[in-house]
């Protein structure tokens, strides 16, 4: 850790708790000294008290519908537009600009947007095709050590729509079924991070550390 990072302020991280594996994220975030507190966020009041947000795995349609019907959607969208946010699996889908395939609700699924990518939902198939595989993730601490990628009915990044702004953070290291080696599974754009896999289903907190440092840097730059 550099001197500069050590001096940075601890941040309060919220995890969107409308549905899905939010408790798992909270557990891993709480292992980081950079995080003062990790809390569940369900409404506009709770989101106003955090510095950065994680949108967990779960069902993206479910989360979007709940947020919309409880009147939380506008506050959520505004937060994501203006604060560091990381989406995992369902969260990645919600942060993407559009869905290329695999969406239903007759194409009516609401998205928060922000990441200039298009998403292929359920890219690997059904649960039978869910798998775990090691990944090289750009910028992780101890980057040579593979990160355990847990893919559960996972989406993939089908296309990068804004190549000048979106950075690729991780790719598949080999073919899985019809999904070829090199398929993009994690990206970063400004204050947003998205991953198709589930770091919250590992005991490895390096992805969480990566996001929290990214959020600290962004906050230091933009909220002086």
């Amino acid at each position: 850790m550099t001197q500069e990072q050590q001096e940075q302020k601890q941040i309060r991280v919220g995890v969107l708790a409308l549905q899905g594996a939010f408790a798992e994220h909270i557990i891993l975030l709480n292992t980081l000294p950079q995080v003062s507190e990790a809390v569940a966020v369900r409404n506009a009041e709770e989101i106003s008290k955090i510095d950065a947000l994680v949108i967990p795995g779960g069902e993206s349609t479910t989360m979007a519908l709940i947020a919309e019907r409880s009147g939380f959607w506008p506050a959520l969208q505004e937060f994501v537009r203006t604060h560091p946010t990381w989406g995992t699996c369902a969260g990645l889908i919600l942060l993407s600009e559009c869905i290329t395939s695999g969406g239903t609700l007759k194409g009516d699924q609401k998205l928060l947007g922000g990441l200039g990518i298009s998403i292929k939902r359920n890219a690997f198939g059904t649960q039978k095709e869910s798998f775990e595989a090691g990944l090289h993730v750009e910028g992780l601490e101890d980057a040579k050590r593979l990160f355990p990628g847990v893919f559960i009915r996972a989406p993939v990044i089908d296309e990068i729509l804004k190549p000048e702004e979106v950075e690729v953070v991780a790719k598949l290291e080999q073919d899985y079924g019809k999904t070829p080696k090199g398929t993009i599974v994690a990206v970063k754009q400004g204050h947003l991070l998205g991953s198709a896999f589930h770091p919250e289903l590992t005991h490895d907190n390096r992805m969480h550390l990566f996001f929290v440092r990214m959020a600290q840097d962004w906050i230091a730059k933009h909220q002086k």
Partner: protein, 317 residues
């Protein structure tokens, strides 16, 4: 048989857990089986009998659907042998929705399970709602790539199912009644037995394992965690948003709603309300709001009026 508790279901205990995840590609590991159940947490899984109902459930915010030919209330009414559903109907539902699709097989009927697995279902429910195919043995769920959820009335039954490979548990309740009383009983029984186990020393745990017919290593793990060692949903009799929130406040991770939605006056509205109630289970103001003006709930049956041999919860061994 070793058992690995689903990752981060509870805060990690010690650094030993740190390298538990494999870097070598693995398909259908217990981590991804139990992991899908973790993704379903805080959600509502709804019984549906056709594509039309599946679409209503998805649009209401269900986190998964259970495809079956008849909802439990109708199985109860019609009598006869209840079996797995027509594969064509299940396939149509899989093609129609983007959320996970589950389907039921009879207790012990491992060939129904093979068939359902081949369709690409995301979870199999080895369910007491269907007529059991084996009155001694459950399916060896380790043999399957697709994960299983199973019912329980008490801790021993839950741990026997997990030992057989179940990656998710639901308390049974009494399906098709619209009466939450059995769901509450089973949930409270499991919780009380876990608390009891937590107070025991090792020699007492050996005896308790025998008493409740649970594998010792799973009982010990449960006592250590202070909760069931896999995701646990409520089921069997949930009919209103208040019922759903009750089960969440009792500590369940999510809720199955069977007959309660599509046997009610306004299924779409009730389904939406139950979804909101599971997210905001601790907020009585939201619960009041969503409970308003829902129309007729399903009629409901008093458990004491059901002949003993027709109680589904007693099936399973």
């Amino acid at each position: 048989m070793t058992f690995a508790t689903p990752t981060n279901l509870v805060p990690a205990q010690g650094a030993a857990a740190l390298s538990a995840n494999s870097e070598v590609p693995q398909v259908a590991s217990f981590n991804v089986k139990a992991g899908l159940a973790q993704m379903l947490k805080g959600g509502v899984i709804m019984d549906v009998i056709n594509v039309e109902q599946a679409l209503i459930a998805e649009a209401a915010g269900a986190c998964a659907v259970m495809a079956l030919e008849r909802v439990p209330a109708d199985i109860r009414k019609d009598g006869g042998v209840a079996r797995m559903s027509d594969p064509r109907m299940i396939r149509e539902i899989i093609n129609a929705v983007s959320i996970p699709v589950m389907a039921k097989v009879r207790i012990g009927h491992f060939v129904e399970a093979q068939i359902i697995e081949s369709l690409g279902v995301d979870y199999i429910d080895e369910s007491e709602v269907l007529t059991p195919a084996d009155e001694s043995n459950h399916i060896n769920k380790h043999d399957h790539k697709v994960p299983f959820v199973c019912g329980c009335k008490n801790l021993g039954e839950a741990l026997r199912r997990i030992n057989e490979g179940a990656a998710m548990i639901r308390t049974k309740g009494e399906a098709g009644t619209g009466n939450v009383v059995e769901a509450v009983r089973h949930c409270r029984t499991v919780k009380a037995e876990i608390r009891k186990a937590q107070l025991m020393d090792d020699s007492e745990l050996f005896t308790y394992a025998k008493e409740i017919q649970a594998p010792y290593h799973l009982l010990k793990e449960t006592a250590k965690l202070g909760r069931l060692p896999v995701v646990n949903f409520a089921a069997g009799g949930v009919a209103t948003p208040a019922d759903a929130a009750l089960m969440m406040q009792l500590g369940c991770d999510g809720v199955f709603v069977g007959s309660g939605v599509f046997k009610s006056g306004d299924p779409a509205k009730r389904a939406r309300a139950i979804v909101q109630a599971v997210t905001h289970f601790n907020d009585p103001k939201v619960l009041a709001e969503v409970s308003e003006d829902l129309g007729e709930a399903m009629v409901g049956i008093n458990i004491s009026e059901i002949p003993k041999d027709q109680l589904y919860a007693t099936r399973g061994w």
